[in-house]
Symmetry: C2
Subunit: 383 residues, 2 copies
């Protein structure tokens, strides 16, 4: 299986690397951030705006789109790309995370998961083959293998049982695609599980590589565990993943966390934080987050961040944004969403430039030191 990932440069002082991921809809320079389009739209933002921000790839949520409006309806409309008017790459998650975080009355069997959906309680089943069918019907360019996502904390015994099930499901996902006509195949990524147990992360990674996927993700992170455990989960998986495949850390994180993950060999990220906290009026800056509602911004004529080229900072003051947010005007959360997405997308471009230019260590140190961390900002993926 030829690799879709081309390694372009590595950082001499860490595992950080710059690369290019080739999908059937174009090339994606890594490290890359993927805005989350949970329900067929990145919240509050238009496809044109995403293109203008330089997004090359976005994420769609298999569970949400299956529940509403349904993958058959979307397929009948020409697929998710046409439905939402996005012609660049789409990665879809497996549905596993939401089945385990949102759905009700779950029953897990060897076959898959029976559950009631969170909207109207309709009894539903998703297993590995079903997840692949849904993602195929959506027209995804990068499909994730169906996985069980155990909660945190999780005993060694429980995590082992779960990841072995996930490995068997991964094999079934691989088999399902191998039975499809080659020309229709998207990229298929496996998901490393294993909770916070180093030996299980290794076992999971090795097992997936034995099956063979186009690239690999680290899942079961950013599920409520302390940040050091999250870093270790990645450190325990990455050494067992091939250098010539992309690596995707699912559902995170804060800006410093992403740089730390890049230093640990991660290439791809998705996170709802930029758009979610925007809707509450919180903006990212080099020096941490800013709650625009605060009275300190009431008469501040400066933009969210001086020198920022995003549409919010180029046209509007903190005073105006604060007014919009307090008045619950949609334009306020639109503009902050654009700023925050620009911040994430731009941070990844800067990290890539730093890796290519051999200055990543300084870039990472300066950014992380200059960024005032705000605890409690981590959120689970794509809910």
């Amino acid at each position: 299986m030829p690799s879709p990932y081309t390694l372009v440069a590595t950082d001499p002082e860490s595992r950080a690397r710059a690369g290019i991921l080739q999908t059937r809809r174009g090339t994606v320079e890594t490290p890359v951030f993927m805005p989350v389009g949970t329900q067929g739209t990145v919240k509050a933002v238009s496809p044109d705006e995403l293109r203008a921000l330089g997004a090359k790839i976005i994420l769609g949520n298999t569970y949400h789109l299956h529940v509403r409006p349904g993958e058959k309806l979307i397929a009948g409309q020409g697929g998710l790309h046409k439905f939402m008017n996005w012609d660049r790459t789409i990665l879809t998650d497996s549905g596993g995370f939401q089945v385990f975080s949102l759905a009700k009355l779950r029953k897990v069997t060897e076959d898959g998961v029976h559950f009631q959906n969170h909207l109207d309680g309709t009894p539903t089943f998703i297993g590995p083959e079903r997840s692949m069918e849904i993602q195929r019907d959506l027209g995804s360019d990068i499909v994730m293998a169906f996985d069980e996502c155990p909660p945190h904390p999780c005993t060694h015994e429980e995590a082992a049982r779960s990841l072995d099930l996930t490995l068997r499901w991964a094999q079934r996902c691989r088999d399902w695609w191998d039975a499809q006509p080659e020309e229709d195949r998207p990229l298929v990524f496996g998901i490393v599980q294993g909770s916070s147990h180093p030996d299980l992360r290794e076992r999971s990674a090795r097992g997936l590589v034995d099956i063979g996927f186009d690239s690999y993700a680290v899942g079961g992170v950013s599920v409520g565990e302390p940040e050091p455990e999250m870093m270790q989960a990645v450190e325990n998986a990455v050494p067992f993943l091939p250098e010539d495949r992309a690596r995707y850390a699912m559902g995170l994180g804060t800006p410093p966390q992403m740089l730390e993950m890049i230093a640990r060999g991660i290439d791809m990220f998705d996170c709802v934080l930029p758009t979610r906290i925007a809707r509450n009026g919180t903006a990212f800056t080099r020096h941490g987050t800013v709650a625009l509602k605060n009275a300190a911004n009431a008469e501040d004529p400066s933009p969210i961040e001086d020198g920022c080229p995003c549409p919010a900072c180029q046209g509007f003051s903190r005073a105006y944004l604060r007014h919009l947010i307090k008045a619950e005007e949609i334009l306020g959360l639109r503009l902050v969403s654009l700023h925050n997405l620009h911040f994430y997308l731009s941070l990844m471009r800067q990290a890539r430039e730093a890796i290519l230019g051999g200055t990543f260590a300084a870039f990472r140190r300066d950014f992380v030191e200059g960024y005032a961390p705000r605890p409690g900002l981590r959120e689970p993926e794509g809910t």
Copy 2:
């Protein structure tokens, strides 16, 4: 006083006319629709989008901006244009309508109105001079004289008392501006009141013309009265307003109503309908409104209206818009807002072209006949 309005063409079969209104920020071709920017933003829409839709003038609400964030804050930020990043013409209403429709514990005196604002009950006073000061501080290009807006229905005696007060207030507004340095003066419009009483509409119009304003509005319409009464209120006022001044019917209406008003000599309109019903998923078409939530749209790959050049119709299907609206995604109401604003702005441009081309009678007849009226859609102005 030189007129800001230049008559360009008239319709031989009605009072319809095409003209140009000159403000200190540019020219406005009439008939014209003014999107309503109640709280310093046209709901869900960005200034760039408004410019792209061809909007030349928008409306700001004096009452709302006074209550939050306050005209002094906006003046400190360089005025409303700079605050909201809109460099074209802004008309502000007088605050009268909202004082009489939203505020609590009103007490009307010869001086003005004491009330408690609708947000936090702060005791507030707005009279004619105060309204002029607020609109001056906002930096409005077209200021409306402060008026009392009586409810519907209204006896002859009550309407007469009210409009005489409004006339005295109008004189005080005129006097206030005459005492200002000439170079700072925006245009100032008087507002005809008189409820549904023909003699009072005439008395109000004649009284305002005696005082002398840059142009004139018809207020106290679209306040709950039957449509024929609304038409008559305009018919009873227009003959007493000068041909060489613009005429603005406040706070309406449906697309057919606007064409009927144009036929009665009206040049300018504002209405919250296009953006308000968009937020509920209702779109305007040549054949009436469409509730996009309806199941009939679930798998409809066509746009809201075939051939419509708006950003919603150029990129997105009814099926997708229905999905967004049902999923309560902001992009849905954004796109329908854009479509509806385009519909209103475009309708006025088409009416102007028809007047210029001598085909207004046929245009009006064809449009009104083709449009399936939907009762109950009229809404009060700018609330």
